[in-house]
Symmetry: C2
Subunit: 193 residues, 2 copies
């Protein structure tokens, strides 16, 4: 029954992602995983190889799903400014409405584990480049449509917007005041004017 096995494996990965995202890598013990995932210790090692390997797969899963989601979300917008505003507002809403205020898994992993783990560091470098490219391509549409001034340095703006997003995902963990977070978004997006 390979389909059933695959389905279960994905479900376990999702649960592992949730736990690592909430608690962080180091604070998550094997016992926590066994309890939260509903599988026994032997199955965890047999199927995934161990805590590190389970983390790697759960983190890859998160990155892939989110990258596609961000790309699709932005491309639903004709206006660049509206697209970024809505993307940032959605990220803020998700963090504030989440009882654990988990923020962004990539940001949390970066501050907890970078740059000590070289393999992970390369993954994070690649991920950053990919998100910046998604932002850059979307900004380019704005220049083509005439919404953005053709003299704007899109590479710098893409880097700034990713930096701003990272900062928002830190601040939103300690500030439940949406209006203040949004005022940072507004001030930041004024670089597009």
């Amino acid at each position: 029954m390979p389909r059933t096995k695959n389905f279960c494996k994905q479900e376990v990965l999702d649960k592992a992602m949730e736990l690592f995202w909430t608690k962080g890598f180091h604070a998550t013990s094997i016992s926590d995983l066994v309890t939260h995932l509903g599988i026994n210790r032997a199955s965890l090692y047999d199927t995934y190889g161990g805590k590190q390997q389970l983390f790697d797969q759960a983190f890859e899963n998160y990155r892939t799903v989110n990258m596609n989601r961000v790309k699709d979300f932005l491309n639903q917008h004709d206006s660049v400014k509206e697209g970024f505003y809505n993307l940032f507002e959605q990220a803020i809403d998700q963090t504030l409405s989440d009882k654990d205020h988990k923020g962004c898994f990539v940001v949390n992993v970066t501050t907890e584990m970078s740059p000590a783990d070289e393999t992970l560091q390369n993954v994070l470098i690649q991920h950053k480049k990919q998100v910046e490219l998604v932002f850059y391509n979307f900004l380019e549409k704005g220049q083509e449509s005439g919404e953005l001034n053709p003299t704007k340095d899109l590479k710098s703006i893409a880097a700034l917007l990713l930096t701003l997003y990272n900062g928002l995902m830190v601040v939103a963990k300690i500030d439940a005041d949406k209006s203040q977070l949004i005022s940072s978004v507004d001030a930041g997006l004024s670089v597009l004017d």
Copy 2:
């Protein structure tokens, strides 16, 4: 010999701060502390109360020292834009030249431990307010001197600059390209124009 004891206590606190900052709270074991601080387990518990209490003191120490440093650093500048540029550049330089790329201890603690620990959460909320006030007061000087347009919303700009700083301290952990980080600073500080 109270002076000798006090000196040693501060030295141990500094070493503890360095270790918690590099490894994070959860990844730092009591054994790590004993090895790194050069005191035995009994002294650690007798003098500080335990790992959590030692962390609390080391973190308070970092926040106080840094808050005063940031305030003094900004106030050495007549130009607001130059003050923030130099502050951000210094933070980037420190992160990039540090072999462990530790970034900012407050940012790392926020993403690792907030909002699960209520006492710590209140500490982080207060710290954020204090830094924003330091930024706001410095921005106000720029409005008084005529460098900044009097219509600028200084509260939003102070919040944005703190968000940008947080973002830079995440990105600098995975991006060793100073020029790209500085281009984000330039783009962000254009809100002051």
